[in-house]
Structure formats: structure tokens, C-alpha cells
């Protein structure tokens, strides 16, 4: 059976109103913009002078850079925007409940961090940093007070200075320890544990570690005041470099 298709349509086509769709889209864009602003503005924590930032059991990284403020810690990045923090009741400690953190902190602040991978740039303070598996990397930092960098298996890279009253301990289990101090830095070096190769351009240290009868070199370098630099090694190769 044949039909005739050349017949004009008998009904008017209704156009759908685009307004609801546009409103939904604008709401969506507004939400995205708010989220982006929140991420960009960061998560700001206000601290007092002398505060210790405490991050525990982070199975990831913590990366720290200095900012220009004297009392603000800023957590940056997508996941850090909603990280919580609280001040410990009995001390000047700010507990940050997060991991995989990119932070900016005041240039002078104390750190107490346990994480897989720790990087600290341009910060001065007492630092107790512990890593298990990843590196501890400190660049242009100053260690103060009773500081300890402890790594189980991975390297410790430190390029910076020791405060004149500091007592800094580098503890390594197999990973290498690479310490670069300023030219003519003064310190009291104490080495314990099992020594691997020690490479240094500091004559007094080179002489001490080359002595086969000296299992625990104890060397003073430069004039007082001398901070104490303790190396606790377990078959860890060491570079100790000045300049």
C-alpha cells in the first residue's frame, strides 16, 4: 500500500524553554567556581610564635615551603582545602589531621612530622622528622634545638645550617646521609653505629673517619660556639660537605 508523504504537518511544534537548563548550568558553574576558589585560597590555620606543627602517621608526603606571614599555615591543593586541625590542650602544638599535604608555613616554625616522604624548604626551627621508606629532603633550612631526622631505609638530604645552640641528630638505617653545611661551619661531630663510606671535604673529619681504630669518631670542627651534630648510622654511606 502506498502513502502520500508530501503533506504539510498539521500541528505546531512547541519549543522547549531553555531557561531551566541554563539555570542548572549556572548553578553548576557557580559550584565549580566556589570549589576552585576554596582550593586556590587554601586552608589557612593561624598559629602563635613558637608553635610546633604536628603531623603523625602520614602514609604519604608532606611538603613544606615558607610563606611571608609570621603566624599563618596554609594548606594548599585540592585535598588540603578541607583538612582539619586543632590545638593541643597542653602545649604549643598544632595538630594537623591530614596527609599528602602541600603547606606553606612561617619561615620560623617547629616541626614534628612522621610521614613517608618529607620535604622542607627554607624553614628554621626545631625539627623532628621521621620517615619510613621515603626520603627526608631539607633544603636551605636551619636546624634548631633538639632536632632529629630519622629515616628507615631511604636517604636524608640536608642542605642548610645548624643553629649555634642546636643539637641535631641524623639517624639512618641503610639509606645515605648527605649533609651540606655552609663554608667554615663549626660543629662537634659524633658518629656512632656501623659506618659505611664517609666522604667529606672537611680535613678533620676525613682524618677521624679514616682511622681504622676509631669506631666512633668524635671531632670538633671550627671554633666555639659549636652545635652538636650526631650521626647514628647503620651501614649508611655519608657525604659531609662544607661550602
Amino acid at each position: 500500500m502506498m502513502y502520500n508523504y508530501n503533506v504539510a504537518p498539521q500541528t505546531r511544534r512547541r519549543r522547549r524553554n531553555p531557561l531551566p537548563g541554563i539555570i542548572v548550568l549556572l548553578l553548576l558553574v557557580g559550584g565549580v567556581a566556589f570549589f576552585a576558589h576554596k582550593v586556590q585560597a587554601g586552608n589557612v590555620i593561624t598559629i602563635d610564635a613558637g608553635t610546633t606543627l604536628y603531623i603523625a602517621d602520614c602514609a604519604g608526603y608532606v611538603r613544606i615551603h615558607p610563606n611571608t606571614s609570621s603566624n599563618q599555615v596554609e594548606l594548599q591543593g585540592l585535598g588540603d582545602a578541607f583538612v582539619s586541625s586543632q590545638r593541643a590542650q597542653d602545649s604549643d602544638t598544632m595538630i594537623i589531621n591530614g596527609c599528602n599535604l602541600d603547606m606553606t608555613v612561617p619561615a620560623s616554625v617547629n616541626l614534628n612530622i612522621t610521614a613517608d616522604d618529607i620535604e622542607v624548604f627554607g624553614v628554621s626551627g626545631q625539627m623532628n622528622l621521621s620517615a619510613n621508606g621515603g626520603p627526608i629532603i631539607l633544603e636551605q633550612d636551619t636546624l634548631k634545638g633538639q632536632s632529629k631526622l630519622d629515616n628507615n631505609g631511604s636517604p636524608i638530604f640536608f642542605q642548610g645550617s645548624l643553629d649555634s645552640a642546636a643539637s641535631a641528630t641524623f639517624s639512618a638505617n641503610g639509606g645515605n646521609v648527605d649533609i651540606s653545611l655552609p663554608t667554615n661551619a663549626a660543629f662537634h661531630l659524633k658518629v656512632s653505629g656501623i659506618l659505611d663510606t664517609v666522604t667529606t671535604n672537611i680535613p678533620a673529619v676525613a682524618s677521624a673517619v679514616a682511622d681504622p681504630n676509631n669506631d666512633a669518631p668524635d671531632v670538633t670542627v671550627g671554633s666555639s660556639p659549636r652545635p652538636t651534630l650526631t650521626l647514628e648510622l647503620n651501614d649508611s654511606p655519608v657525604i659531609l660537605h662544607e661550602g
Binding site: 502513502y3 531553555p18 645515605n176 663510606t197 666522604t199
Partner: protein, 326 residues
């Protein structure tokens, strides 16, 4: 309703492919409502779901525009640093330091960290090749890196060795610090301090000028240094792998070669002047330097005139060979 839906859905198709001449249907096909003159669904224009019709719709245009803006905004703000977007280039200061930590473990078919000198004194370029050991016709960049305020220190975040080869082109004057579990480390044409540590990967230096306090430390991989120069204080130490050194040393400084189980093979230029202290506890020492005498698996001698570098060769169970080069 079945006829309406079927026909409506196929209307665009008819218009596009039959050019207004739809196929003829007989009375026994599946249409429930006969397509007779006056049927309101005959000759309808394409619905909005059809692609060409989309451009007649303001909502579609706005949606496309918004998506385009979001895509561009996302790329320029953060996505451009995603590894998928090819080699990563970083501007650095003069004589920078590159720090890499790799925890990738592989007993066979190990990846390689390849660092070589480029022509640009202020650029580092990183690329990852063959991710997952799959050869692809393009390379990837690195996703994360940290740098200090003056861009003199670059620390590659995460583990950049997620491909078959991690390749870095760096300024000639670059200090390199690498800690690797299994990745082979290869440096070519660089000048600077090096701190290279590997567990079972190899460490290879070719045409490098090592300056300052430097360390090449391996456990079971091989250490090979060729056509290079060591200056200052440097130590090459291994546990089970071999150490092969065919390069020059400075006229001053201290150069230590230590091995536990593996052999040490050192070839120095004819012009090298040094004092050598060699000791092979359970192995042997051989040399073609006429003035170096071996007694009780030890050798202590001066070669050439002052100033002299100090060369220390220590092995527990491997052999020590000291060659005078051509």
C-alpha cells in the same frame, strides 16, 4: 504510542539518509498506526536530539561554550602539569641541584634514570618513556616537582620512574643527587657534585666532570666511570657488584674505591700523580705500575711527583687491578 515513538526516533534518520523519500511500507509491517495523509508525525523536522538541530538551540550553544571555557580554564590552571601532557620543562637558576628518589623495585628488566647535559643553562626537561614498559610513540612528563625560592634546587616528587626510562636533560653544570632502589642510573656530560646511590641498579658516568664531595654507592649493581674526571673528594663503593673506573683524577684530593665481594678495576692516565694505598683482605692486587710493589695483599706507593692525590683501594673478597693507561 508505539508508532509515534518509533517514528519520531527515526525521523532524523529518514531526513538525513532518504532525502525526503522514506521507504515504502506495506500493511503487514510493525507500524500500528497507518501513515496516512494527515498524520501529524509525517515530515516532521528533525528533533533537537539530532546533531544538526543542536545548533539551532541556544541551550546547546551555551553548554558548549561553558564546557569549552571550563576545559581551557582547567588546563591553564592545573591540568597542564599533568604527566599526560608530554615532557616537562622547568626554568632553573645557574648551577642547580636535581634530587630524585626512586623506590621502584625490579630484579630484572630494571628501568633507567638517564641524566644528560643539554645546551640550555637554565632549563631542565623531564620525560617518561614507555610507561608500564609499553612502547608508545610519545613521551610523558613528570607530574610533580618541588623547588626552592630561587629555583636552585629541584626535587622530583613521587617516583618519576614509572616508565621504562626516565630521561632528564639538565644544564651542564648541575649537581645530581639520586637515590634509587632498582633503577639504573646513567649520567652523561655533566659537571658538578654527584651523590648517586642504588641498591641493585647500575651506576654509569660517561664524560662527566665530578667536582666536590661526591659518592657513588651501590649494593649489587655495577659502577662504571669512563672518560670522566674526578676532582676533590670522591668515593666509589660497592658490595657485590664490580667497580670499573677508566678516567682521570685531580692532582689533589682523595679518591676512595671500596668493594666487599666484587672486583675493583681502576685505570688512570699516564700523567696521573698520586699516592696509592691498596689492600685486598682475601683477594689479590695486580698492577702494571712499575713502582708499585704488592706485598701481603697490600700496596703503598707514590706515583709521579708532587702534588699527588690520594688513591685508596680496599677490597674484602674481590680482586684489585690498577692499570696505567695509555
Amino acid at each position: 504510542m508505539g508508532a509515534r515513538n518509533s517514528f519520531a526516533a527515526s525521523n532524523c534518520f529518514n531526513v538525513l539518509f532518504y532525502m525526503g523519500q522514506p521507504p515504502q511500507y506495506n500493511s503487514s509491517n510493525s507500524f500500528e498506526v497507518p501513515l496516512v495523509p494527515g498524520n501529524p508525525y509525517l515530515n516532521r523536522r528533525p528533533r533537537r536530539g539530532c546533531f544538526p538541530g543542536c545548533f539551532r538551540n541556544l541551550g546547546c550553544l551555551i553548554t558548549l561554550a561553558i564546557l569549552l571555557v571550563l576545559a581551557i580554564g582547567s588546563y591553564t590552571t592545573f591540568a597542564h602539569s599533568w604527566p599526560i601532557f608530554g615532557p616537562t620543562t622547568i626554568t632553573v637558576s645557574t648551577h642547580p641541584t636535581l634530587v630524585i628518589n626512586s623506590n621502584v623495585y625490579a630484579e630484572v628488566d630494571q628501568p633507567t634514570i638517564r641524566i644528560h647535559a643539554g645546551k640550555d643553562a637554565n632549563k631542565m626537561t623531564f620525560q617518561v618513556m614507555s610507561p608500564g614498559n609499553v612502547d608508545l610513540p610519545w613521551s610523558f612528563g613528570v607530574g610533580e616537582w618541588q623547588q626552592n625560592s630561587d629555583s636552585s634546587v629541584i626535587v622530583l616528587g613521587s617516583d618519576p620512574v614509572w616508565g621504562r626510562t626516565f630521561d632528564a636533560t639538565v644544564p651542564v653544570d648541575t649537581d645530581v643527587k639520586i637515590y634509587s632502589d632498582s633503577a639504573n642510573i646513567s649520567l652523561t656530560g655533566l659537571t658538578g657534585q654527584v651523590d648517586l646511590v642504588s641498591n641493585n641498579g647500575s651506576i654509569t658516568l660517561t664524560s662527566c666532570h665530578v667536582q666536590g664531595t661526591s659518592l657513588l654507592n651501590d649494593n649489587s649493581g655495577t659502577i662504571m666511570v669512563t672518560r670522566s674526571t674526578l676532582n676533590g673528594e670522591a668515593a666509589l663503593s660497592n658490595n657485590n657488584g664490580t667497580i670499573t673506573f677508566n678516567s682521570a683524577i685531580g692532582s689533589t684530593g682523595s679518591y676512595v674505591f671500596e668493594n666487599n665481594q666484587g672486583s675493583i678495576d681502576v685505570t688512570l692516565p699516564q700523567s696521573a700523580t698520586f699516592h696509592v694505598d691498596a689492600k685486598a683482605v682475601n683477594g689479590s692486587i695486580s698492577t702494571n705500575y712499575p713502582g708499585v710493589q704488592v706485598q701481603n695483599n697490600e700496596a703503598h706507593a707514590n706515583v709521579g711527583t708532587n702534588p699527588r692525590a690520594v688513591v685508596t683501594l680496599n677490597s674484602d673478597n674481590g680482586t684489585i687491578t690498577l692499570h696505567k693507561g695509555a
